[in-house]
């Protein structure tokens, strides 16, 4: 027998193919492909001496200790038993092809020449998982205890959540000491729920969701944990912690009420003793975005932009001031103010105040002065002053036909700047008045 190197595909032909094959031959070819694959073979050419039951010349295909067929004749001919386009697939990764010829190829005294055959084989993946499912077939591979995952050339096993694959790569041992749940909602249950949970468990189910989310727990029916009439949970216990703070230990058949844990981190510790057939527990958790209190202004000049009916984590609000007022935080003037709702349900900054804009004392006017039109000394928003020049020596410079009164009128604006309606920030100018002596020479005597 001639083993073929473990290729993933190849051809097998009769000796001297396509020349007529020799007589008196017995040759077995073993086709082997890598483990995890199966052999698939098909005849592309086939021309053997036909005979009833293929007694004289034949090709015999066998695999997995079974004969898959014995063939002779020509493709398309009714004589003998040609293989046609049949595909032969092994279970394992081997297939034998035996070629037998007798001492002659005569028909009615005439020697006949037959080309023999050309067969093509390839390795096809063996779905070890499928074979495990129909367990009738003898299992080539060890069973996965929980979950089987096939891939080209092999397969691997995994376990259901709460179990850990053992070293043998197939069996699963309850391992729930580090179960982590991070989805914003989901289910957590004891192993095998609602079938009885295994004994001797030390399970820790951690639910960790984003900061700013708060977890709500809702236990489902059935809820069954071994308990005792008098003693509180002596056998099996389900302990629940929120942010490390114990919020209860549960057992028995009465499911706990729904929880708002006000936290984004919950741990469930489930300990069981060596016996019991309670069906365990299951909970559904959902998250709710943490809320912040409705922002309230501290004075009537503060405006909250786009007030929302409700604010939750990561929401923010912008505070501004009425015109003429400015944001202050403590004594710090702010150009803008935004507060963000934090993950603990508080605002990251306290509400600011709005202080009236102060233009500061008006600039002094060279060769002139000013009076307050509004309250003397008050330089805040909408205060008004009137500049004037030291007449008669100086005169206010105006242009565009505006009067000195108009030119000299300034208002403290919302930008915190003293401004004249016509000339803006520029303060007026007092220009010397020429040719107006206050005591001009006078001559009386004539």
């Amino acid at each position: 027998s001639i083993p073929l190197s473990q290729k993933l595909f190849g051809e097998v032909t009769s000796p001297l193919y396509p020349k007529p094959y020799p007589n008196n031959l017995d040759k077995t070819t073993v086709i082997t492909v890598p483990t995890g694959f199966r052999v698939k073979l098909v005849f592309w050419q086939f021309d053997l001496e036909p005979s009833e039951g293929c007694l004289y010349d034949y090709v015999k295909i066998s695999a997995d200790k079974k004969t898959l067929g014995r063939f002779c004749g020509q493709l398309g001919s009714p004589l003998g038993n040609p293989p046609e386009a049949r595909e032969f697939v092994s279970q394992g990764n081997k297939m034998q092809l035996t070629f037998h010829t007798d001492f002659s190829n005569e028909e009615n005294g005439t020697i006949m020449f037959h080309k023999g055959f050309l067969a093509y084989y390839q390795a096809v993946d063996l779905d070890e998982c499928a074979s495990q499912l129909n367990s009738l077939e003898e299992n080539l591979q060890p069973q996965c205890q929980h979950l089987c995952h096939n891939y080209v050339g092999s397969y691997f096993c995994t376990c259901r959540p709460g179990y850990e694959l053992q070293k043998d790569g197939h069996s699963c041992q309850a391992e729930c000491s580090n179960e982590l749940f991070t989805e914003p909602s989901g289910y957590v249950s004891s192993l095998e729920y609602p079938q009885p949970y295994p004994p001797d468990l030390r399970c820790n189910y951690s639910i960790r969701v984003e900061r700013g989310l708060t977890l709500h727990l809702k236990f489902l029916e059935p809820f069954e944990i071994d308990d005792h009439q008098q003693v509180h949970c002596p056998y099996d216990q389900l302990q629940i912690y929120a942010n490390g703070r114990n919020i209860g230990e549960f057992c028995g058949k009465k499911r706990p009420t729904d929880f708002d844990t006000s936290s984004n981190a919950v741990d469930l510790l489930f300990f069981t003793d060596e016996s019991g057939d309670s069906r365990g527990w299951k909970l559904h958790y959902v998250t709710e975005v943490i809320k912040c209190p409705q922002p309230k202004t501290l004075d009537k000049f503060t405006i909250i932009q786009d007030v929302q009916p409700q604010y939750q984590f990561r929401d923010y609000f912008i505070a501004t001031c009425q015109q003429g007022y400015q944001l202050v935080e403590g004594n710090q003037v702010l150009l803008s103010f935004t507060a963000v709702c934090q993950d603990d349900g508080t605002w990251h900054r306290a509400m600011p105040r709005c202080r009236i804009k102060d233009c500061g004392p008006p600039r002094s006017l060279t060769n002139g002065a000013f009076n307050y039109t509004t309250t003397k000394g008050v330089n805040t928003y909408q205060a008004r002053i009137q500049y004037y020049c030291q007449e008669p020596y100086y005169k206010m410079h105006t242009r565009g036909g505006i009067s000195e009164i108009q030119r000299g009128a300034y208002t403290c604006t919302a930008q915190g700047i003293w401004k004249n309606e016509w000339e803006g920030e520029k303060i007026p100018r007092c220009l010397p008045v020429c040719g107006k002596p206050v005591n001009p020479v006078e001559q009386k005597q004539r």
Binding site: L431, P432, C434, G435, P437
Partner: protein, 241 residues
């Protein structure tokens, strides 16, 4: 000033008292310019190199008092380009501007005078005032004096110059005032002061001329720089004001 009378405080609040190559006058323009005669800074028959200090006083009518007031430091001196220091018979372009280092604060005794804006200020016979701390009849004055003079007819001045066999330049950029019959006249020490006219239309005093030159003092004509012809130059020098 010959034949003049004492000015009272506030009569001529633009009057400056200068002390450069001797006593001189000037007039305040705006609040930081002094208008004066170029020859007070570059006197004729003086070598051009000498550099006298320029002292400017303002705001009083008594020499003693005015010199007690702070001297006003001068930032820049502008001499009109037509002035010829070396031509002793030619007072063409006898005008200069002193820019003060600091603006002055105006008040009843310190006020600027206006500049002329039309020819009527030079009509014959129009009365103007000339004030100055210059000498009187051969005596130094301790007070600001003033006189009142009429603008004279050009031809009269020209023939008067001829009769006195004078070759001095009397150009269109000058005018003359006074009269040989009058005692009143400006005199040495008054140069740089202004011939001031009260413009009744605008109720303002206007400087129409600068005391510039004359033949002796009194009983004759006085010759003044005609300011109207230099207003553009003045404004250019004050550029940005």
């Amino acid at each position: 000033i010959i034949g003049g009378q004492k000015a009272k405080l506030g009569n001529f609040p633009w009057q400056a008292f200068t002390n450069i190559y001797g006593r001189g006058g000037g007039a305040l323009l705006g609040d930081r310019w002094i208008l004066t005669a170029a020859h007070t800074l570059y006197p004729k028959d003086h070598d051009a190199q000498s550099n006298a200090t320029v002292d400017v006083f303002l705001g009083h009518v008594s020499v003693e008092e005015i010199t007690k007031l702070a001297n006003h430091p001068v930032r820049r001196v502008s001499i009109h380009p037509d002035y010829r220091q070396d031509e002793s018979h030619n007072f063409e372009g006898d005008i200069a501007l002193l820019e003060l280092e600091n603006s002055v604060t105006l008040g009843p005794n310190l006020l600027p005078i206006c500049l002329p804006d039309n020819e009527t200020f030079y009509d014959r016979g129009l009365m103007g005032y000339v004030s100055g701390f210059g000498i009187m009849e051969e005596r130094l004055s301790y007070d600001l004096k003033f006189i009142r003079l009429p603008v004279a007819k050009r031809e009269a001045c020209e023939s008067w110059l001829r009769k006195n066999k004078r070759k001095d330049v009397f150009s269109q950029n000058m005018f003359c005032a006074g009269d040989p019959s009058l005692k009143q006249d400006a005199c040495q020490g008054d140069s740089g002061g202004v011939f001031a006219v009260k413009d009744e239309n605008s109720d303002r005093w206007v400087a129409t001329g600068i005391v510039s030159w004359g033949i002796g003092c009194s009983r004759g004509y006085g010759f003044y720089t005609k300011l109207l012809n230099y207003v553009d130059w003045i404004k250019k020098e004050m550029e940005g004001e």
